[in-house]
């Protein structure tokens, strides 16, 4: 029988949920499962509700569903928030002392959230408290309740660990809750141990030991005090065990790894969620390591590294990266909506000056500061048109972590090949989710530095923007080649000197934009739009970015419900793969556009580029990623009811 489990681990921000979830994810992976986990949190450092949703099964998994098997909370607010996020018959793990907590008395819950919750419970005839929430879950959702006395567990732990004060063992609260979940699903102790070792590492053998002592107490208690949960999945070591070695990465790490492989040597940033972790990660790995195949280079490159620079703002960030790119360094910056808004003028400068600079753009909820820590796909149109005037840009998006690695390399390659800015669009949902990734294959990765001047000798007549049929002029690098270059944000002649001459303007303008036509010719459309599933299926879902995971995961259950669905993932929006998109959409009876925004931005781009108007859309703008369940629901609504717009609202 297929094995699958999905769990919400909730608690106050800073309360250890993050660590518990990392241990859980790795334990499940060590137990032989494929695992996916996403983190939801407030723009807050301590106290507000945060949670991890972790899903594991015996085949690849890339998304979450709307309802989970188990909700486990470190605090009362977690239970009040997620009591109705369980499937029928799901489990809730909590401390019995939570039940008396009134929703109105939860200090960190936002007033409007309280109001919505109180109203809801009251209208269903339940007390607005954890008690009422649990009763609701029991009566309406057949919830199995697991009141685990957290304090008693910690007291026992204190005894076993030989510590006097309860305050010290308090930090094991996350392990208590995690262990309860592990016990419920029958996760073998040895796998939990491996998970602990993975997270704490060889450096902290004591932490592993202590946490295991805590885990044993909880495992014992759960076993002797509760009836078994109906979904005991145990380990997954037999036939269905995952065989391939994989890496667990979050999106920030995936992109950083791609950038390092792609030869990035200069990264700038100004701190912003959810982009900053990428730069931190790069800085932590600033010392270059060279593949053993290249021992000669390794000798030369001893001690070389990547410069990661925290700038004073995003204008400085993009312009510094641009300056670095002029010298030949592969340069990039990473940001999110507010930061990209500030970068726009610099982007235009890079555009008119044909500078290969990469912006990794982590979308989050806007406008303005919007939802700083929540998911969104609402910046596609912005990325495509940011900046006054017209200039070529490549806009590519990644659907998951594995893609993101290769796309980060592509972004750096395309920037140099087409001598123009590349915007790599990803989302908060990629940044803050953990996925199992096949380690990048070196032979699938190549480096293309584009058209550089080949002549080492002095070239006094060099013209940086020399007219070429395909628009690409050989690039001389400042400080490397013996050829002088001038750059200006004004329109310029072939030498890079300011001009307002209409004839030169005509030619230079055209030359720049021709490069986008070249990219359109050279980059196969099959790399820019990818079709999954049965090519002859009647129903086509169109989506991009992290919608991919939810749709691919949904395809199986759609199949079993009798819907034959294919999925067209658009990866590159500029230059747009119009032929494939036109072809696939015109061959499908029903087309559904699924996006995490209000306007259906990709559908608008499709209309603009192909003239095809997509009638059915499933849209979401709550700041939470689209779930597998929502995709299934949306397809059913469209097919059965002919719904034109399906609004998605799941997730807390």
């Amino acid at each position: 029988m297929a094995k699958e489990i999905e769990v919400i681990l909730g608690g106050p921000q800073g309360g250890g949920i993050e660590t518990a979830a990392q241990i859980f994810i790795r334990s499940l992976a060590r137990a032989g499962y494929y695992v996916y986990g996403k983190r939801e949190y407030f723009s807050n450092i301590m106290g507000r509700h945060s949670y991890f949703q972790v899903r594991a099964r015996d085949r690849p998994v890339r998304s979450v569903r709307s309802k989970v098997d188990i909700v486990a909370g470190l605090d009362a607010e977690s239970i009040a928030t997620h009591f109705d996020d369980i499937v029928d018959g799901g489990a809730i793990i909590y401390d019995p002392s939570f039940v008396n907590t009134k929703i109105v008395a939860m200090p960190m819950m936002e007033p409007d959230t309280k109001e919505h919750l109180i109203k809801r419970l009251k209208s269903e005839g339940y007390d607005p408290s954890v008690q009422g929430a649990l009763m609701y879950a029991e009566e309406k959702l057949n919830a199995k309740l697991y009141p685990l006395p957290y304090k008693q567990m910690l007291e026992e732990a204190a005894k076993k660990l030989n510590v006097q004060s309860l305050a010290i063992v308090q930090r094991f609260l996350n392990t208590v809750v995690l262990s309860a979940v592990a016990a419920l699903i029958g996760l073998p102790r040895e796998d939990l141990e491996s998970g602990l070792k993975d997270v704490f590492g060889a450096r902290k053998p004591k932490a592993v030991e202590q946490n295991l002592i805590v885990a044993d107490i909880v495992y014992d208690y759960v076993k002797s005090n509760f009836p078994p949960f109906h979904k005991v999945i145990g380990g997954n070591k037999d036939d269905n065990a995952r065989k391939e070695p994989m890496a667990i990465l979050n999106g920030n790490e995936a992109i950083a790894i791609g950038k390092i492989l792609g030869g990035l040597t200069f990264q700038t940033y100004y701190p912003i969620t959810p982009a900053a972790d990428e730069s931190f990660f790069l800085e932590a790995h600033e010392q270059l390591q060279i593949d053993p195949e290249f021992s000669e280079e390794a000798e030369i490159l001893k001690g070389a590294g990547i410069v990661v620079f925290q700038a004073e703002d995003e204008m400085a960030a993009i312009n510094m990266a641009t300056g670095a790119a002029l010298t030949g360094a592969r340069a990039a910056t990473a940001t999110s909506g507010p930061g990209f808004s500030l970068m726009v003028e610099g982007l235009g400068w890079a555009g008119i000056n044909e500078v290969p600079v990469v912006v990794t753009y982590y979308m989050r909820g806007g406008p303005s500061t919007g939802l700083p820590t929540r998911d969104s796909q609402s910046d596609l149109l912005f990325a495509l048109s940011a900046g006054h005037g017209e200039f070529p840009r490549i806009v590519l998006s990644s659907g998951d972590h594995e893609e993101a690695i290769y796309d980060a390399v592509k972004a750096l390659n395309w920037a140099e090949r087409y001598q123009t800015p590349v915007i790599h669009l990803v989302e908060k949902n990629l940044a803050n989710s953990w996925m199992m990734v096949k380690p990048p294959k070196r032979d699938l990765i190549s480096i293309d530095r584009g058209h550089l001047v080949s002549d080492e000798n002095e070239n006094k007549s060099y013209a940086r923007f020399e007219f070429q049929d395909n628009g690409v002029s050989p690039r001389a690098l400042i400080g490397v080649h013996k050829a002088l270059v001038w750059y200006t944000g004004d329109e310029h002649d072939e030498y890079g000197h300011i001009t307002e001459d209409p004839v030169t303007r005509y030619e230079m303008y055209k030359k720049r934009l021709k490069k986008l036509e070249l990219a359109d010719k050279e980059i196969p459309e099959s790399e820019r739009a990818i079709l999954y599933g049965d090519h002859d299926a009647d129903i086509a879902i169109v989506g991009w970015g992290s919608v991919k995971g939810a749709v691919l995961d949904a395809m199986d259950s759609l199949q079993s419900r009798g819907y034959n669905v294919k999925f067209l993932q658009i990866k590159v929006f500029s230059p747009f793969p119009r032929n494939i998109v036109r072809e696939v959409l015109s061959r499908s009876k029903i087309v559904i556009d699924i996006e995490n925004n209000y306007l259906g931005q990709a559908a608008r781009v499709i209309a603009m580029e192909t003239g095809i108007l997509i009638k059915h859309k499933a849209l979401k703008w709550t700041g939470r990623p689209i779930t597998e369940s929502e995709v299934v629901m949306a397809v059913e609504k469209v097919v059965k009811e002919g719904a034109e717009t399906v609004i998605l609202r799941d997730g807390k």
Binding site: R26, R30, D198, M246, A247, E253, I257, I260, L261, G262, G263, T265, F266, T268, L288, Q289, I290, D291, E293, E297, I300, G303, A304, G305, I306, V307, F309, A311, E312, M315, A316, N319, M320, G323, A324, A325, T327, G328, A329, A331, G346, W349, V409, P439, P440, R442, S446, I447, R449, I478, G479, H481, L484, V485, W486, Y487, T488, G489, G496, H497
Partner: protein, 307 residues
């Protein structure tokens, strides 16, 4: 003079007759020539304004950037390839108005670049609005009403921001300005030269006649003048003295080198402390591929993440 010509591009500046920018350009050309800068390793970075166009008039690499942002491009160029000599030219509006955040921030880093401020107290290229260095109550030619904002003193802002070389020159004393620019470029660390730059077209208040009367030279007025910090403890006294003498609105306006502190590590040295190969193989020079194959390895990153 002949040598200077080799640093001059074949373009003619389009500044108004009598503009102080000509003096600044000539002083810089002479300084470059006397320092024998390698044109292929020298970058002039300009902001936006009348002054900002200056990169096009040099026969070295020229990068004419965005309004206020010249310093950011320059920082990227220098840190990606520390072999380069990078000199930034920009207006007072450019560097102390729209770009003042960068002007201050770069002071924390002591990147080894030189910044020249063309202080004409107006926004030249947008037709004479008040710049951040124009005093309150002053009405220059184009202003419809007197200026209502107080002025920034560029020297003092630089001193407060951590610049390790702070000087002032006068656009019409080209010889003196040349010497100051030379010292600024030779200084290892972040240097700034504020240049009093008459704008005959829009600034009818701070004219060359006024400056002719007021500009005085530190080294002449104070025979024992020594702006160089000999030991780190001396820095604050030297900053105070520089501060006191850098007023712009008294009877005298002093020009010369106000302050020079060689004891602060450059940003490049700070990077090299962490990345030992940085100065030898900076980001611009890392051979990232062999026959199209990437040479970087990520095995050490993946290993602890493998399951």
């Amino acid at each position: 003079m002949a040598l200077m010509q080799t640093y001059k591009s074949n373009l003619n500046p389009d500044w108004c007759p009598g503009c102080g920018d000509y003096g600044i350009l000539n002083a810089a050309l002479m300084a470059f020539a006397e320092l024998k800068l390698d044109p292929y390793k020298t970058v002039v970075v300009g902001g936006i304004g009348c002054s900002g166009k200056i990169p096009h008039y040099f026969n070295v690499h020229g990068v004419h950037t965005l309004h206020g942002r010249a310093v950011t491009f320059a920082s990227g160029l220098k840190l990606a390839n520390p072999e380069l000599t990078v000199v930034v030219f920009g207006g007072d509006g450019d560097q102390l108005g729209i770009g003042v955040g960068h002007f201050v921030s770069v002071g924390r880093r002591n990147i080894d670049i030189t910044i020249i401020i063309h202080n004409n107290q107006v926004y030249g290229l947008t037709k004479g609005q008040a710049s951040p260095t124009l005093p309150r109550g002053i009405k220059t030619k184009a202003l419809p009403m007197p200026n209502m904002q107080d002025p920034i003193n560029p020297v003092r802002l630089a001193l407060a921001s951590g610049y390790t070389f702070v000087a002032r020159g006068y656009a019409y004393n080209v010889q003196h300005l040349k010497e100051v620019i030379k010292k600024a470029i030779q200084h290892k660390g972040l240097s700034v030269v504020e240049v009093l730059q008459p704008c005959p077209t829009y600034n009818d208040v701070y004219t060359k006649e006024v400056y002719a009367q007021k500009v005085a030279y530190l080294e002449k007025e104070f025979p024992d003048w020594d702006p160089v910090v000999k030991s780190p403890e001396e820095a604050s006294d030297k900053i105070k003295r520089a501060w006191d003498l850098s007023d712009l609105y008294g009877d005298k306006i002093y020009a010369g080198v106000f302050y020079q502190n060689p004891h602060v590590p450059t940003y490049e040295e700070r990077i090299a402390n962490r990345i030992p190969g940085y100065l030898k193989i900076p980001p611009a020079k890392v051979p990232i591929q062999v026959n199209g194959k990437p040479i970087a390895s990520v095995e050490h990153i993946l290993k602890p993440r493998m399951v």
